[in-house]
Symmetry: C2
Subunit: 218 residues, 2 copies
Amino acid sequence: MKKKIGVVLSGCGVRDGSEIHEAVLALLAIDRNNGEAICMAPNEDYPETNHLTMQETGGKRNALVEAARIARGNIRDIKEVKAAEIDALVFPGGYGAAKNLCNFAEKGAAATIQPDVARLLKEMAAAKKPILAICIAPALIAATLGKEYAPELTIGNDAGTASAINQTGSRHVDCPVTEFVIDRKNKIVSTPAYMLAGNISDTATGIEKAVKAVIDLI
Amino acid sequence: MKKKIGVVLSGCGVRDGSEIHEAVLALLAIDRNNGEAICMAPNEDYPETNHLTMQETGGKRNALVEAARIARGNIRDIKEVKAAEIDALVFPGGYGAAKNLCNFAEKGAAATIQPDVARLLKEMAAAKKPILAICIAPALIAATLGKEYAPELTIGNDAGTASAINQTGSRHVDCPVTEFVIDRKNKIVSTPAYMLAGNISDTATGIEKAVKAVIDLI
């Protein structure tokens, strides 16, 4: 039977939701490793960014409705998803991971977490089920699980972000874009993707390796 | 020097723009084959579909602004792009290819083509530069170039669409999802992708082969 891999999206676009390349490359790697992706997102509205001008518009978009574009309509409200239903959980990056799923982008180590995301992450950690965080998403994992589990993870090599991650009780480890960091004790895998990548191929290479690693941990 | 590969997007989402998986997988295959993607889209507004309910909202979104999400902001108005600047041209699928870039979805073989798309396609054909059409996008190629060039192409095996394609003067050839059709005389490559695919892996396999084939034609 296929392993069920939750994929937590936060919208559709690098500046106000999930980074689209990272999300699609994760879905491809899950399928190629004989996993079944269970896409989900919060049913909440978040500020919208125009991706041509890269300016906030003043409007809002619903993360579940927009993430449904990446999921081709096959998506669930994260509120309804329990850790018991899935074998692993994957977080693509994009600013949405740091400003919709939590407010790390604004608050750093003092971030608060979207309640359904926090609940599901804590369920996964308590059940010792593997978690993969891509790009900036490890900051979300650090802010949620840092104090209790002290996970080891990477966002690449950005000193400011690494320092904020260390302040959560987690431990940041530098990592090149085509590799990943694995915390075997906590079953947490992370890869830098577009935190470091200058092209989509390097992003894909890191995500392919990291998805295989997280599925191997199941 | 890297080959410059134009990628024509029509929005961001399978029901009202570019199919996101196909677009990202094409960008990945271009980069992995040492190409440089030049993303472009029409600067025009088209009807918006909610991808959670799959219903039209009554609102509109701008194809260039939305496609910028897939292109991570690195995108041009197709009006400004000339065939002389690029070595090949790629069209991902999604309904946007059949209802924004032209109105094939409504008019079939009698479709009219968005003027900048028609101009660029005719420039490419006249210059004997290769074209790749994915999913439903071959219908756009057929409606634009069918009468003059009688290209051979595929959208998989949908009889109704194949018949409408044949009515343009083009010739439809059935093709499985993980393969592609190549018209060497006209340098036109096509692959069925989500016209047939039941999963993202099969879509990726067909697109990887087709992108390599089109770059080899340069």
